[in-house]
């Protein structure tokens, strides 16, 4: 009973903000704000209900683009990180560029990847998502692989363990928390990449196209409904990776809550 109450106490403030936000949105849009600036939440939800089939299939289409880019970009990044950690001179040669590339607004390349991979092909959106995902995952994973405490290496050497043994038993598990924080950022970036990629043209089924087209014809309720779906998919994507993280790293101090 007391724990239930304490739970309520923990969640209470956040729940209150949520309810207040919705009330303010609904009231504000009905009383003061023009519909083309921000439609009332209730009318967005109505649109969502009425056009669910179209919006959801567009959402899934774009989500697949994001997922493809995520898979390609993060696996390439992990392989690269493994190689750079294994052969240090290689790492020293490449890392400054990887870190610099992290600062490039890669999204600016979106119109160009459309040229490279074909405007209608999901591959062009996957490409931009993959490039967006690549650097944060690379930098994080590499940091995890190389930030092993020197005493852990000394200990392994005292057991006559070779480089490969140290890699497998120390560097890889040590890198897991870093890898997952990279992957969580990557889920968000992949969704952004896919949707922005859509904005520059592509299949009629895509979420980005739906948002751009409906906003273009002043159907803001539909645009907002599509944004809601994009948000839901983005959150589910993030939550899925976070769940895998928790399951993989039950040993981690951050898992102590359960």
């Amino acid at each position: 009973m007391t724990t239930t109450l304490r739970r309520a106490g923990d969640w209470g403030p956040a729940a209150a903000v949520f309810v207040l936000g919705i009330v303010a949105w609904e009231a504000g849009t009905r009383l003061y704000i023009e519909e083309f600036l921000l439609p009332p939440l209730s009318s967005i939800l109505e649109t969502l209900r009425d056009d669910w089939g179209t919006i959801w299939s567009a959402g899934i289409f774009t989500f697949k683009e994001a997922l493809g880019g995520f898979a390609i970009g993060s696996s390439a990044a992990v392989l690269m990180a493994l190689a750079l950690a294994r052969w240090r001179p290689l790492g020293r040669a490449f890392m400054p560029y990887a870190i610099a590339a992290n600062a490039i607004p890669i999204i600016a390349f979106a119109p160009i990847t459309n040229n490279w991979f074909g405007i209608l092909s999901p591959a062009s959106k996957m490409a931009i998502a993959a490039v967006l995902v690549f650097f944060p995952v690379l930098v994080n994973t590499l940091r995890g692989l190389t930030s092993v405490r020197p005493a852990q290496i000394e200990l392994m050497r005292s057991y006559a363990a070779g480089e490969l043994e140290i890699f497998r038993r120390v560097r890889l598990p040590n890198a897991l928390p870093y890898l997952f924080s990279g992957l969580k950022v990557a889920t968000v970036l992949a969704m952004i990449g896919a949707i922005v990629g859509d904005y520059f043209g592509g299949s009629q089924d895509a979420l980005g196209i739906l948002i751009r087209r409906s906003a273009g014809i002043f159907d803001f309720k539909l645009a907002w409904a599509a944004i809601v779906v994009a948000s839901i998919l983005g959150m589910l994507f993030y939550a899925a990776v976070a769940t895998i993280e928790r399951l993989t790293m039950r040993w981690h101090p951050s898992a102590r809550a359960d």
Partner: protein, 275 residues
């Protein structure tokens, strides 16, 4: 002394670190016999931890001979002739207590069943029954260090190297761990080289205390500790204990010019000489 029985034999060991040609150790000659418990004591910078790592072949000496178990230190490391414990327990967060202890056995290729039996024995030895499945962050500092000791003993090495293993623990836990270490040493009869900067700890544990001085790191004296075995809580109250603590402190002062307070706490003040 019979040189054949020496588990560790150091002759003319010298270590210079590349930068600025700092001489960390010079003219180190030391034999450690089987079954001895030898402490290396000295102020920071006297090279005691470096010396321990040279014995373990984790650092190469610039010059000199290091023989462990009758072979070059490098070969001894490859043969897993010693176990090592650091100041920080150096446990792997992703492994449970039993898996941390069993790690060296995994590397040695022991079967799962044999490993489980051995780990079970060790957990009883270090009195951690009930914590087998816990992760390191769920343990106190003292318990973590017991896991590290069990791990170092897992493959029954002839030699145990300990680098200030209890340096990070509070005084009460440290004294309890000292007693436990003596009990374990008594049961396993391994040879121990123990680095510390606590005079009381060195005298209480050791059969011999090797006193070192900094700039350059060298051995300035050896105090034989003739306190009766087995030792216990009352050992610290014997007049002989106080005498030996005083002997070690005088040797320290003569060699390097620093002081330590009565409790044997590590308040080592470097005198004008180096400034």
């Amino acid at each position: 002394m019979n040189a054949d029985a020496a588990v560790v034999s150091l002759k003319g060991v010298r270590k210079e670190f590349d930068r600025g040609g700092v001489v960390a150790l010079q003219d180190i000659d030391l034999d450690v016999q089987a079954g001895e418990f030898v402490s290396l004591i000295g102020p920071s910078g006297c090279g005691k931890s470096t010396l321990l790592r040279i014995v373990g072949d984790l650092i190469r000496p610039t010059a000199g001979d290091v023989v462990v178990n009758g072979k070059p230190a490098h070969q001894a490391r490859l043969d897993r002739d010693y176990g090592i414990v650091f100041q920080d327990a150096v446990l792997f967060d992703w492994r449970t207590v039993e898996k941390n202890i069993g790690l060296p056995l995994e590397l040695t290729g022991w079967s799962r069943q044999r490993r489980a039996d051995r780990v079970h024995e060790l957990i009883e030895l270090v009195e951690l029954s009930g914590f087998e499945r816990n992760h390191p962050w769920q343990l106190s500092g003292g318990m973590q260090q017991r896991v590290a000791i069990a791990r170092a003993l897992s493959f029954e090495p002839a030699l145990l190297l300990m680098d200030e293993p209890f340096g990070a623990l509070d005084e009460m836990t440290r004294e309890r761990m000292n007693l436990e270490l003596l009990r374990i040493w008594d049961q396993t009869r391994s040879t121990v080289i123990f680095v510390t900067h606590s005079i009381a700890e060195a005298v209480f544990l050791s059969t011999r205390v090797v006193v070192m001085s900094p700039r350059p790191g060298r051995i300035t004296g050896v105090v034989d500790v003739d306190l009766p075995q087995p030792r216990g809580v009352e050992t610290r109250e014997q007049p002989r204990f106080a005498e030996l603590v005083r002997d070690v402190r005088r040797t320290l002062r003569r060699g390097g010019g620093f002081e330590a307070d009565e409790a044997g706490e590590d308040e080592l003040i470097v005198a004008e000489e180096g400034l």
